[in-house]
């Protein structure tokens, strides 16, 4: 339906342009202030709604800096939490002494893992303690949480905690961790998740190939760096319901995890996620929510925990580092005939989302190409490093770096244009994926041609 631009609307737009500058508004807009007209009012009022460049309802507060994130929320009598983290990458905890903590100024309540009703969580395997009790497996493991009148008092109080450790041999390299003699990080084998994809006969494919390309690619550990770090506030409502405000991006599962760790019925928990200042996968699990809930119960007061930037790095999840061995057999005309891929994911100290990541990485590893013979093996391995988990792309950015780097190498080696070799091999409508799925709505070549047109790829050099 064509956009209706009436004279009246044009006059309205003109009025907007002539309106006094925004500085005439109060610095912080009270809630009662009438909403300013949207920048493109007609778009938001048009039908059909799909396909319109509708402006977001929250854009005004974002742009004016008046969006209220969890750190902007406060409740009367609210306490602040800080968490003592491990001094070792791998150690047995011999004793935790919090006696001196209660004498520290401002301290109202403390929490150790033994006080958590069910002290474990995790999206696939519940192998991660809310607070470590007898063992730490990386330096981000929390051991004692303290709630004090101010954040500073909570931080200073942590010095009074005494933890005795017996250091254990640690392993940081995922390839070393796969060695049967490597230190075991959990009771099970260090290789804790794997995925195999097989289609065709990859050995025969290599035999029939004119040339074979082999290379190892590696990617590092990466942090999500959301502008807003993890934050949570817990308070117990007069009717006995626990109300948690949290930066959790998955409240249905967040509530299930809270109910499990706290041994509470689900209807006794209300999980509210405010506007979240960036997720990128990192906020898909509970973090301090059980801790603030229990400290709020012990103290009888609302309790807030906000991660520092450093905690965001060391005590949240990160992107999996990958070691990727690619071997690709081709015909001299540029057709891909066989590809074998071996992936090792550094899974960090706890499972988190590694099983999903190894699965997605393996499924996507051969790239968007018609390759008759494919074999992919992916493995996720425990190490004594920061937990790796969900992050935008779940392994796909890593494998794409590998398969597209190798594609480029093949193209240059054969003297074929990198665009043309992709068009030659790329998925089309009805192509069959390495898992045997018939693909529909395949727009790969359209994207190749569009990007090439936009950048004037075929017109030659820069």
């Amino acid at each position: 339906m064509p956009r209706k631009v009436t004279e009246e609307k044009q006059a309205e737009a003109q009025q907007l342009l002539e309106a006094p500058p925004a500085t005439h508004l109060p610095a912080v807009a009270p809630d009662s202030l009438p909403k300013a007209p949207a920048l493109t009012p007609e778009v938001n009022k048009q039908t059909p709604a799909v396909g319109q460049r509708v402006t977001r309802p929250d854009i005004r507060t974002h742009i004016t800096g008046t969006t209220r994130y969890i750190d902007d929320l406060s409740f009367p009598g609210m306490l602040h939490v800080k968490i003592l983290r491990s001094a070792h990458a791998h150690a047995r905890i011999l004793s935790i002494n919090v006696d001196a903590l209660h004498k520290m100024p401002g301290v109202v309540a403390t929490l150790t893992g033994e006080e958590v009703p069910v002290n474990s969580f995790g999206s696939t395997y519940q192998d991660q303690p809310v607070l470590a009790v007898d063992r730490v497996r990386h330096r981000g493991d929390g051991i004692v949480a303290v709630a004090a009148e101010t954040e500073q008092q909570a931080l200073e109080a942590l010095d009074a905690v005494k933890v005795d450790y017996e250091p254990l041999p640690a392993v940081f390299d995922p390839l070393e961790a796969m060695d049967p003699d490597a230190p075991k990080i959990h009771r099970i084998d260090n290789v804790y998740a794997s995925k195999v994809i097989m289609r065709g006969d990859v050995d025969r494919g290599f035999e029939e190939s004119d040339q074979i390309f082999e290379r190892r690619y590696t990617t590092p550990m990466i942090e999500h760096v959301p502008l807003e770090p993890f934050a949570a506030i817990a308070l117990w409502e007069p009717d006995g319901q626990l109300h948690v405000y949290s930066t959790n991006g998955r409240i249905t599962l967040g509530r299930a995890d809270l109910a499990r760790t706290l041994s509470l019925p689900m209807n006794r928990i209300r999980l509210t996620a405010t506007i979240i200042g960036g997720n990128f996968g990192g906020k898909n699990e509970i973090r301090t929510e059980p801790i603030v809930a229990l400290l709020a119960k012990k103290s009888g007061r609302p309790v807030k925990a906000v991660y520092t930037r450093q905690e965001e790095f060391i005590a949240s999840t990160t992107r999996h580092p990958l070691v990727m061995d690619y071997k690709t057999g081709i015909a001299n005309d540029g057709r891909l005939l066989a590809r074998s891929v071996k992936l090792v994911l550094d899974g960090g100290a706890y499972a988190s989302w590694s099983e999903t990541t190894v699965g997605k990485a393996a499924i996507l590893a051969a790239g968007p190409y018609r390759i008759p013979n494919v074999r992919v093996e992916g493995r996720a391995v425990y190490t004594n490093k920061t937990v790796t988990g969900a992050m935008r792309g779940f392994g796909a950015p890593q494998v794409a770096f590998a398969y597209e780097s190798q594609m480029d190498e093949i193209a240059y080696s054969l003297g074929i244009d990198p665009l043309e070799i992709r068009l030659l091999n790329g998925f089309e409508e009805g192509s069959i994926s390495p898992t045997g799925q018939v693909l529909q709505a395949v727009a790969l070549k359209e994207t190749l041609l569009m990007a090439a047109k936009r950048s004037r790829w075929r017109e030659g050099d820069l």
């Binding site: 990617t219 979240i276 960036g278 930037r309 990160t318 790239g367 794409a400 727009a443």
Partner: protein, 337 residues
């Protein structure tokens, strides 16, 4: 000397969880004045998903985006949702919203059929009206129908629905199966300049063509692509958590762990390729995660095009690129490809 180079990379990416059920539910209430309220358990994490869900409900009900208010992110208020993960919100939650809106619309069409003297199947909701499909002049305002439904007929136009993407489990030994209901595709072309004396790489321009199925809101698709590319530039050139020999992170701060700033983000030209996925809401698939997937190889391939070195361990820091340039210079003169 600064040497120019360009690189291309494409990718595929799935929507939703791998095989595992990942349902979403939604409730749509049409108010007496013809506006609507959507309840969803998903969470807005900055990507604009609530705007998209509002547009989907509006489309199904024949009203505009401003006529829909979306309530989310509260387990006491909203129905279950698997959440803002796996690029699934538009596809999965969007389908739930669409189905819930369709259920509410059924009531509206039935009430309107009495008012217009036509069968419900002959009617459609469009442009704030319920009208005859084949004779659009025969119509009644949607607000009037909604008010009548609730006040006169005692049938508040309300719908609730769930959606779970169809998958087929994978064979444990061969991985054969249908792990995902939908995939999206994309290509990015990066243009860079590599300083052969310092190894520094500057990304000058990225052309990004992304398939997202039907773009429910093209502006938000473009925003996602631009944000993803910024993230991809960081992963390609500078981001890396480093550890000491005792397993301690040595750069857990934004002074020593560098992320791209607005000054590092080049000119980005986004083309939204519209395909139509019959399973998606109005043909939509998704766009969240895949936006950064081709960025790293596009940049790394451009570095190779510029100075002939192939960095195979990310990130391609200036030190690493310079080292590779020096090694290569010993073998043959520096140059393209």
């Amino acid at each position: 000397m600064k040497r120019p180079g360009r690189g291309i990379a494409c990718m595929w990416y799935p929507i939703g969880f791998t095989v595992a059920a990942n349902p979403s539910s939604a409730v749509v209430k049409v108010n007496e004045d013809g506006t609507a309220t959507v309840l969803t358990g998903t969470v807005e994490v900055g990507q604009g998903s609530l705007t998209v869900l509002g547009q989907i409900a509006a489309q199904e009900l024949g009203i505009s985006a401003d006529d829909v208010h979306v309530v989310s992110a509260d387990t006491d208020i909203a129905p279950m949702d698997t959440g803002a993960i796996a690029s699934r919100t538009t596809f999965v939650t969007g389908n739930a919203v669409r189905l819930a809106a369709a259920e509410a619309k059924t009531i509206l069409l039935e009430v309107a059929s009495e008012m217009l003297g036509m069968e419900p199947g002959e009617l459609e909701a469009a442009d704030h009206r319920i009208r005859a499909k084949t004779f659009p002049d025969k119509q009644v305002a949607l607000a009037e129908v909604a008010a009548r439904a609730q006040i006169a007929r005692g049938r508040p136009p309300l719908g609730s629905a769930s959606f779970n993407p169809p998958t087929i489990s994978m064979d444990p030994e061969t991985g054969q199966g249908k792990p995902f209901a939908a995939y999206v595709y994309a290509t990015q072309i990066a243009e860079v300049e590599v300083d052969d004396e310092t190894g520094e790489v500057e990304v000058l321009r990225i052309c990004a063509a992304h398939d997202s199925g039907t773009a429910i809101n093209p502006a938000l698709v473009e925003g996602q692509v631009e944000g993803g590319i910024a993230m991809g530039i960081g992963m390609a050139l500078e981001e890396e958590i480093l550890f000491d020999a005792e397993g301690r992170q040595v750069n857990p701060n934004l002074t020593n762990y560098l992320i791209p700033t607005s000054l590092d983000v080049p000119r980005i030209e986004v083309d939204v390729i519209q395909s139509y996925d019959p399973l998606g809401p109005f043909g939509a698939k998704g766009v969240g995660e895949p936006t950064l997937v081709p960025t790293m190889p596009a940049i790394l391939n451009a570095i190779h095009d510029a100075v002939g070195v192939r960095i195979t361990d990310l990130p391609a820091t200036a030190e690493k690129v310079l080292m590779a340039i020096k090694e290569r210079a010993e073998v043959k003169p520096l140059g393209r490809g």
